[in-house]
Structures are given as structure tokens and as C-alpha cells.
């Protein structure tokens, strides 16, 4: 059972990392135009400004 002492903090840390990454994406505006992002990947033109 002592392995829990390592595994729980590790899993929490990894989850927290994901949460932090999500906040970063939110701040970068990745969720401002979800429909557009889904469609832009199909166009031939190179998208040199993926954010904004």
C-alpha cells in the first residue's frame, strides 16, 4: 500500500499539469473560434497565424 504514497501525488501532479495547460490554452484564445479551427485544417493555405 505504500506505493499509494507515490502514485497519488504523481497522478495529482499530472492532472494539475493538464489543468495548467488548459488555462494556458484558454488565455491564448484557442477556444475563441472552435468551428473555424476545425475547418481551417482542411484548407490548402498555410495558416501563419493560428491564434487570435
Amino acid at each position: 500500500m505504500s506505493v499509494l504514497g507515490i502514485l497519488i501525488p504523481v497522478s495529482l501532479f499530472l492532472g494539475g499539469l493538464g489543468l495548467g495547460f488548459f488555462f494556458w490554452l484558454l488565455k491564448r484564445g484557442q477556444f475563441d473560434d472552435p468551428d473555424g479551427s476545425a475547418n481551417r485544417i482542411l484548407t490548402d493555405e498555410y495558416d501563419d497565424q493560428p491564434k487570435s
Binding site: 499509494l4 492532472g15 484558454l26 473560434d33 484548407t43
Partner: protein, 721 residues
Amino acid sequence: MTAAVCPACPPGHETQIASLPDARLMLSVPEIHCGGCIVAVERALKGVPGVRDARVNLTLKRAAVDAAADIDVDTLTQALKTAGFEAHPLDPGVIASQSVDAKGRDLLMRLAVAFFAMMNVMLLSVAVWSGADGATRDMMHWISAAIAIPAVLFAGRPFYASAWGALRGGHLNMDVPITLAIVLAIATSLSETMQSGPHAYFDAAIGLCCFLLAGRYLDHRTRARARSAAAELAALEVPRATRLDKDGPQIVAASALQPGDKVRILPGARVPADGIVVEGHSEIDRSLMTGESLPAAIEPGQTIRAGEGNLTGVLVLRVTAAGKDTELARIADLVAVAEAGRSRAVALADKAAGLYAPGVHILAAVAALGWWLATQDMRISLNIAAAVLIITCPCALGLAVPAVATAASGRLFRKGLLVKDGTALERLAEVDTVVFDKTGTLTVATPQAEGWQCIPSSERGVARALADASAHPLAKGLAHALREAGIAPAQIAEVNEVPGQGISAKWRGMSVKLGRLVDGASTAQLPMASSGFQIASGPIRVVTFENRLRPGAEALVRALQSEGKRIVLLSGDAAAPVKAIADRLRISEFSSDMRPIEKAAYLEKLANTGAKVLMVGDGLNDTAALAAAHVSIAPATGLDAARTASDIVLLGEDLEPIYGALETAKKARRRITENFTLATLYNVVAVPLAIAGLATPLIAALSMSLSSLTVSANAIRLGRR
């Protein structure tokens, strides 16, 4: 714009109106719907010289443009029009305040925290459910508490704030039982954990928070999108006027005009205030105000009113009434009266919440009291109360209804309909009578040219060139017909337009004319408007015009009739054109020459007979009727006032989506009732268990997650075909 080339000039009205250097211009492009459109729009905008960058937001159907200061919005809309997209300029000031959707991001962040915490606590709980006991269970509970308590405190804030507000106001809302459930669950779980007890509901408390936040976020997104769309439409028309002061013309806001001011009105502009024409001849388009489909000739001494459109000549107006005293404002008052008379519809969810909140509190209190009387054990009875509150959590109300509304309004948005009001969809589902306005709603502003083929093919190019040069609706109609037929304009010179008479020019040295060439006596016999075309002193070719139907109008009326809905046509236009349109669409009930107040009265009469009326109209004469109807739709081409008074705004030209909207509304209503039934079923099964004290944390977590998932899955079905 003088101010743009002279940034050092002192600020005045001009600088406020002129675009700022490097302005990010915003355009609303309602027709974008795919990846190909994104590329086409961006390419069209970047092709305009002076545009540095353009970026489309497909979700909001907007384009942001970074352009040099001398680029104005009209150039951009023109460029998009050539590329085949309808575009409306937006006021960047209004947009700027909304582009950062602070509340939406805040909710999304809380949702993320709640989700993260829920997943971790659920994982830890799996150990407890699968039989951990003693020190291990206590450790799991303590870790869960350490994650759940801060998460619940942070993520649940919107609920606490709203519940506190409701309690201070002395009434109950949905958030009161939610807050009570969360607080009680956390408190009893904490005391259980301290006493090494088996029942800890940390997972349920944080799960509740997460599911309800998801519902709250969906709800916010739907509302924000509708609200920003409405604000954008409001930003389309910023009323301004060119006031002729002693020291020259000055552009001022229409609200700053005073009686006695002189105002110049250019062709194509809206009249900013009521007044008397002192100089100039022109024609006035009253279609938005009264529903008359043909323009009226105007000469000095005549009265014109705010909101009417000036077509062909420059007018100078002496203002007699401005702002609140204009006819326009008086009709707006009529709207307020009509709105006050309409009984406010209560959303299904609010009705349910009104029954639900007290019921849940009573149930939990009775259960707690019963167990306390039976066992004299405070700990058990509080545990039972918490379990009851968690099991009866209003997930169905808090998540299922917003999920359905989001799916439905998202579907309508893709079809070009903006739902402005939360209860509009529910009201739309009940409609049994549809009332249409004629001018601008069933028909479009430019009439359809009939019999232009009487012009010999050698002369058609000249006719096209003349028609192109005029802003008169008949000329526009002819130009449209000739353009459709693929006729190229000829070279003409010395174009001269006489308001009320027509347009003339020189072609290969001969004088050519288009307009009122046939005298009044012979035109009076024709049922429709007509226009003459003549080269030099050759024969006069008479082209007649009919009101052109909006695309989809006929299909919409047919579809509604086949559903057995009653259809009425109310118009402010003269009897003959109204009858012609009614016959064409096979509408048997119609009235002409209706004044605004008569339209509203007609609708009230219909409502008194128990009819649920959908009003579709665009003009000022419709606004009171739009507000009086059970539910109303206005096309985006209509007046501000009409769009404000209506519940739903139709963005495209085509009318057919209205039928789809009725279908979607009915489906949405059915889904909401289904969801309520599902949620009730879960409660019927789980609440007796909770009251009997058999609701383990596992059962609570299962019933809550399952009910939330089934209702959202049921809602999502609506968004798909």
C-alpha cells in the same frame, strides 16, 4: 476623411466618426459556413489595397480586418459582395467591449477546475467503493477532502452568489437547493471523515458542481451569442446627420438635432428627423415606414419624417421635430405599450424550478426530521438530508434545458436565425397562426421587371447603363433583370437624373431617357408600376414591374398551409399590389392600407380569440404588431426598431428557414419534456433509497452522473439531423 490624413488636428465630430489609424474593422458575414468560405472571404478582403490582414471567426461569423486608415467599411463590404458574400459593417466600439468574453472564460475556468477535481476524487472514491476500509479509507477521504473543498469553494461561486442574492431578496431560486446540497454534503462528509465514518459525499458534491457548471456555461454561451448578435445589429446603423451651420456643414449625431436646424440629406441616406423640405427635389422611399412599395416624389414645402429613405436627389430639410418628438419615436412608444400588454411567458425550466425548489427542501427536511425522531441521532439524520439533496440535484433542470436550448439555437444559427429571447423557442413551438407583412418581408425592395423583352436587343445595353445609374427602385429592378440576362451596359455620357421624372443621358450623340415618359392618364390604367424607355424620339417601350417575392416566400407559405396553419397578410400598401401578392401566394386572408396601430389591434384581436400568433415583419409600421404577437421574427434588412421588438432575427435573404425554425422549436420542446421525464424517473428510483438511508456514496454518484449523461445525450440528438 480629413481627420485621417491629419492626425494632429484637434478632435471634433469628424475625428470621432473617422476610423482611427490602423483600425481593426469588424464585419458581420452571416453566410460563412465552411472552410472554403473562410479562404474566399479572407482572400477577398486581403485583395483590397490597403488591407494588411484579415481574419475570419467562423463561430461568430465575423471578419476582423486590419487596414490602413483610408480604407472605409464600404470598400470592404463591396469587395465581399463581389466575392458573393453579404456583409454588414459593425461598430468596433460595441464589439471591443464584447470581444473578450470575460464571464464565459471565467465559467470555463471554474468548469475546468471542477472537472479536474471531480475526476481525481472519483478515482480515489473507486478505492473506497471497491472495499477499502480502516486507515486506507480514511486516507482516501482526507485526500478527497483536500481536493474537493477548495475546488468546490472556487468552482461553486456563481451558485453561492446567485443563491445569496435570491435569499436576500426573500425568494427561492434554483441555486438555493444547489448551494444547500453542496454545503451540507461537504459539511457532513467532513464530519464523517473526522469520525472515520463510511459515508463521504465529496465526489457527489464536486460532481454536482461540475455538471451544473457545464449547464451554466452552455446557457451563457447561447445567451452571449444571441446578445452580441443583437448588439451587432444595433451597431449597423449609427444615425448621423449633416447639419448646415453658419460656418459650413458639420456631421452630428441625429440625437443632437434641434427644431429649426437645417439638415442636408444626400441620396441613399435616411432622413434623420421630421421636417419640411426647403430645397431640392427627390423621391422618398417609405417602404420601411408605411409599407408602401413605390417611392413618392418630394418637392419643397412637403413634410418628410425620420426613418424614410432619400432616393434620388439632394434635399435640405428644416427640422420641425427631432429625437423623442418624431413620428418614429411615437411609434416606439406604441411598441412599449404593446409589450407591456403581452403577458410575459415563463420558461418551462423556471416553472419547473418554482415547483421544485420548495419541494426538495421540504422532502429533505421531513426525511431528516423523521430519522431524528426515530433514532435520536443527529449524525444519521443530517447524512440522510444530504443524500436526499444530492440525489434530487436539479441536474435535469440545470443541465438538460440549457443543453437543449444550445443545441436548438445552434442549429437555427447555422440556418441564419438568431434567437434573441430565451423563451422564444418555447413560444415558437405553440404557433398556430402566422401573420406576414408584405413590403420588405414577403417581397424585396427592388421590384421585378416584367416584359423588358419589349426593348429591342440592340437597345438593351443602353437601358442597362441608364438603369445602373439610378437609385430608384424601379431602375434597380430593371438593372437587376438585365444583369441576370447577361446584358452588358453600353457607354453613356452626361447622365442627368430629375427626381420624380427619370434619368436621361447621351448615347452615341442621341439623347436617351428612362423613367416617367408616359403621361399619368395612361399609366393609371396599368395595375402595376411602369417605366418608359426611349432613344432619341423613337418609340417608347413600357416596362411594367411587379413586387418581387423574397426567395423562399412561396415555399414557406405552402409548407405552413400544408401544416394547417392560418396565414394572414397585413400591409400598409395600397389594395392592388397587396391583392396581387396574396393571389400569387394563395393567401385568402389579407388587408391593405393598415396603419401601425391597426396592425397591432388586429393582432390583439387574434390573441383574444386564443390564437398563438407568429408575426413576421420588417418595417416601422410592424413594430407594434411584432411586440404584440406571441412570438415575432424580423429580417435583418428591417429597421432597428423592428429587430429590437422581435424575438428572432432572420439573417439571410431566404425566408424558408422560418419553417425549419418552427420544426426545430417543436422538437426542442419535446426534448425538454423528455428530459424532465427522464430526470423524474431517476428521482423516483433513487429518492426512496436515499430516504430509507440506503443511498451509499456510490449510488449517489452513479444516479447523478447517469441522469446528467442521459439528458445531455438526449439534447445533443437535436443538433444532428
